[in-house]
Symmetry: C2
Subunit: 424 residues, 2 copies
């Protein structure tokens, strides 16, 4: 589906003068003109302003991302574009400043192309976006527009956020690379909070290398920039405690993928998660609901009738959670985080599904983050790469999970895994 150059390629060509930002942005806008009527990935997009900015950057831009267009999930503040958080309550809101990640991208020369559709406050009430592979299916959420825009080659990079499964799931459903870095790697200032101890900023790209490149710049971590180095990761295949939620075709596809990785000479062994981790899924839900109920009190008090029923249900439930249950969930999480490296003993990464299966039919729901919640809660790096195919031919991603803080290894492993054809 991709017709844009990779970001690494585009950055090189812009640097040596063989490509202009204007030409690259025109290619994006052409593609948007073609696909947007069906996909509906953009919440705000000003084509003239984007071209003017591209010409400006061609004249006097600088930095590693010079002239590279980026989409920004509309849960993230932008000073020069409306920021609506997917809610009618913020339809007219203009933040006073860019979010830190947006400012860092601009500082590195990037061009903010527009705002991509988010679900309401990055929870489950869908926006208008459709799956680029089938307009009758969800693109996933909550970073719906970012995933759909990158997957349909409207823009080569986009920012997203994940509190449960909001990067990895839509990346899987739309077939692009989604990367949720270690918790805290990308500063959250100017990102609308949902659940403080879980919210994580991440990125979408068409290759692992591009996702790594953007993050290396934004996080100020040059070692994340991976190239096509030779790396043969030792992989743990884990079915997690959510395995019964995997669709049969996904389960089979993952086994097939493991066989192919083994045939390609990579070391793969099955990994059982610790018995104590069985509680992590519920712990993540408890923490998310408890914290969301507090962070959304301003809206609940003044404008609850403008919140979706889905969100209100969560906030009401979260307000009833006993602090002792929340504290117990946090304690389990702290224990699991401390023991997390043991699970990866002598392995580089874990391999696990990104989602239970293909993007579900219909646009009323965004799918189930059951394969994402525990990793978000653990704060470890996760990368979804396209690779599997569901029974109706829709894409399904595989998820590479790394050690806390060792994003470089996780990204390098994901790049290596991505080179092996995982399905027929």
């Amino acid at each position: 589906m991709n017709e844009l150059p990779t970001v690494l390629e585009a950055a090189r060509c812009i640097a040596d003068g063989s490509l202009t930002s204007e030409a690259l942005v025109r290619a994006c806008l052409d593609r948007i003109g073609e696909r947007e009527p069906q996909v509906q990935a953009w919440q705000h997009l000003d084509m003239d302003a984007a071209l003017n900015m591209a010409r400006h950057l061609d004249r006097c831009g600088s930095g590693p991302l010079k002239g590279i267009p980026i989409g920004v999930k509309d849960i993230i503040d932008t000073a020069d574009m409306p920021t609506g958080y997917g809610s009618p309550l913020y339809e007219t809101f203009r933040p006073p400043r860019d979010a830190a990640c947006v400012a860092l991208a601009r500082h590195a020369g990037a061009l903010i192309l527009g705002k991509t559709v988010t679900t309401e406050f990055a929870y489950f009430q869908p926006g208008k976006t459709r799956n680029p592979h089938n307009p009758d299916r969800t693109p996933g959420g909550s970073s719906s527009g970012s995933a759909a825009a990158v997957a349909s080659a409207m823009v080569p990079l986009a920012f997203g956020t994940q509190t449960a499964g909001s990067i990895i799931r839509p990346a899987s459903f739309c077939a692009c690379v989604g990367y949720k870095p270690t918790f805290g790697f990308i500063d959250r200032t100017g990102v609308r909070p949902f659940a403080d101890s879980l919210d994580t900023v991440g990125v979408f790209a068409t290759t692992v290398q591009d996702a790594a490149f953007l993050t290396s710049v934004i996080a100020g971590r040059p070692n994340l920039r991976i190239t096509n180095e030779e790396f043969r990761p030792r992989i743990g295949l884990t079915r997690t405690y959510a395995w019964e939620d995997a669709e049969p075709a996904t389960a089979l596809a993952l086994d097939e993928a493991a066989a192919r990785l083994r045939a390609a000479g990579l070391e793969i062994r099955e990994v059982e998660l610790p018995e104590r981790w069985r509680g992590l899924l519920e712990a993540q839900k408890t923490i998310m609901a408890f914290e969301a109920a507090r962070s959304h009190v301003p809206e609940m008090l003044t404008a609850s009738d403008h919140l979706s029923a889905k969100l209100r249900e969560l906030l009401d439930a979260g307000a009833l959670i006993a602090p002792e249950d929340y504290d117990a969930a946090k304690a389990l999480l702290a224990e699991a985080r401390a023991g997390c490296s043991d699970v990866l003993d002598e392995l580089d990464v874990l391999l696990t599904p990104s989602a239970p299966g293909e993007a579900p039919e219909g646009l009323g729901a965004t799918g189930d983050p059951v394969f994402n919640r525990i990793w978000t809660a653990l704060g470890v790096p996760c990368i979804s790469i396209p690779g599997l195919t569901g029974p109706t031919g829709m894409p399904v991603g595989v998820q590479v999970v790394g050690r806390w803080g060792d994003d470089r290894r996780a990204l390098a492993a994901a790049a290596a895994i991505g080179q092996v054809p995982l399905s027929a």
Copy 2:
């Protein structure tokens, strides 16, 4: 210095009809009329609006904080009052919504009296506030106005925030109770971020019971509400690795306090902090600078000439910190947090100075958080209670430090310690 009823008393009287919010707010405004010209604790205060709101709450308010006035540090968003973050960059800013803690207070019936002075973005560049005990001395920072307003009985309660020592230090310098709860107990949505993994919302009050009461309501943790129960805490006296920074008079005063607590029949023993903790002070500084350099990129890029030299210096230094050094600081912190309960083995709380000594002379600096940084970094509950007196007669607080999440015990211990006269 206090002429207001305690909050517990006022809430009881408002509930039984023997006191009106209007009368209480009038008492505050009278006191403000008297002291504010010298103390300068308020950034925004609309007396008529406050009285109108008090009358409104007398008619139709409800909740545990019905009619109780609260000051809000101007780093915290309010929808009906300007929110300036202590920076000329935000002089005209009006947030779209209240911060979560403000909304929760209003939901509980409280009256937001006004915004109190903060240092610039809650860092070290002072605002206009003076120490209520001596106008030629700093009130401390960054919650300067909240501490000074509560200590001079202009308002019975106020919100503050602490990233290094911004609640405990000004409470100590101004002689009121300052309480920094366990990290995450009070939701931070709508609080301007400085350093994401350290920023903590807390409160000022004139009694430990009042601070506990407000927090129990805001955090939705009824068990934090302590009454005058009989509790004889087992206390560990710790001089920390910052002891050489304590002024000689403070060191002597703490010994005297320990002797008096022992004489009052409380168990006190000296506690040595683990050798590994020696690095925590520098680790806190590293984390704070690294994260602040990222969260303030939007202002650095677009308006750095409107930032103070003090702040720019930190942000420049933070931008140069290698990610590996930041990661090492975070790893040390994680290890120390995990081992924190061992330090308190068979003890209820630690007792340590709140600050190196009296509020320093002059208004150009807000004092040194050297006795606060490691506890903020550990995320544990800290309470400063007035009790010691410096060589010139200025107040010096003592700090009670509890276990992560066990704020109830820390508060009960602080209340018990506060009943013993700690100095001659």
